[in-house]
Subunit: 154 residues, 2 copies
C-alpha cells in the first residue's frame, strides 16, 4: 500500500471508529480501484435509527486552502444519498486531527466541471453534525465535547 | 486472491449489482481480514428510501445441505442492524445462481455456540424480500420476475 493510500485508509478508519463509538452502524467501502464500474462506491456509510449518512473522506495538509474533487465522485455521492434516502457529506481531516464536515451543497463548480471546496475549516464539527441528526442527545454531546477537547490537544 | 475469495467476491458483487439495478444504494464492506477489530464489517449494506438491509453473503455448493456461521459474524450482523435501525439477512447463492434470503432469526444455535442454517432453499427469493420492503411496487415485481426467469435458465 502506498503511503498516500495508507494515510487515506487511516483517516477513513479513524472516522469510522469515532462514529461506531457513538453508536452508529458503520461500513467503509472497499478500496478504490477495486474494479467496480457500475456502482458508486462511497468511502464510508454510517446509519443510526434509520438515518443514513454517506461520506467522501479527504485529509488535507497544512498548506492546502482548498480541495478539488472530481465531478464523478460528487455526483456519485449525491446519487447514493438520494437512493438511500440519506444525506451526503465531505468529511475533511485537518492537520492535527480535527474533523470538519461539509455539506455536498457547499461545493463550488469549477470551470473544468469539477468541484472545489474552499474554507476547509468552515465545515461543521462532528458534534454539530450529530446534534443536527439527533437533537438534544445529552450524552452524545458530552461525548463529543470530550472528543473535541482531545482534538485541541493534538 | 485465492479462488475461494474470488468466488466469494463475485457473489457479493453480483448481489450488489442486482440491488443497485433495482434502485438501492449499495456498499460492499472491505475484504475480510482488513485488520479492523473494533467494528463489525458487514459483507453488504443496501438502503432505499430510509430502509436499511444488511447482508452476510454465502455461496453454497451442490452437496451442501446446511451452512455453519460463526457466532461472532451473526451477533455482529444483528448488532449492526440494531444500530442502523435496519434488518439483518443471510443471503445464499445456490448453485446455478438463484438467491435465497434468510432472516437471521431462522438460524439455529449449535451445541458449540455457533449458528447453523438448514434448508438453504427455504429462504425467500429476492423479489419476495423486496415485496416485503416495498409492497405493491409493480415495476419492481416485474423486474424481479425477469431476474427469476433468467435464474431458471442458469
Amino acid at each position: 500500500m502506498s503511503s498516500r493510500k495508507r494515510r487515506s485508509y487511516e483517516a477513513e478508519n479513524e472516522l469510522a471508529n469515532i462514529l461506531w463509538s457513538l453508536g452508529f452502524a458503520v461500513v467503509r467501502g472497499p478500496a478504490s480501484g477495486s474494479g467496480v464500474r457500475r456502482r458508486f462506491q462511497p468511502d464510508l456509510v454510517a446509519a443510526k435509527n434509520g438515518k443514513i449518512l454517506v461520506f467522501e473522506i479527504k485529509r488535507c495538509s497544512r498548506d492546502e486552502t482548498a480541495l478539488y474533487i472530481e465531478s464523478s465522485q460528487v455526483l456519485g455521492l449525491q446519487e447514493w444519498a438520494k437512493r438511500a434516502g440519506g444525506e451526503a457529506f465531505i468529511a475533511i481531516r485537518l492537520p492535527g486531527g480535527e474533523w470538519r464536515i461539509h455539506d455536498v451543497g457547499d461545493l463550488e463548480i469549477t470551470k473544468g466541471g469539477n468541484f472545489k471546496l474552499k474554507d476547509l475549516k468552515k465545515g461543521v464539527r462532528l458534534r454539530d453534525l450529530l446534534e443536527r441528526i439527533e437533537p438534544k442527545s445529552k450524552s452524545l454531546t458530552e461525548f463529543l465535547e470530550s472528543y473535541d477537547s482531545s482534538e485541541h490537544h493534538a
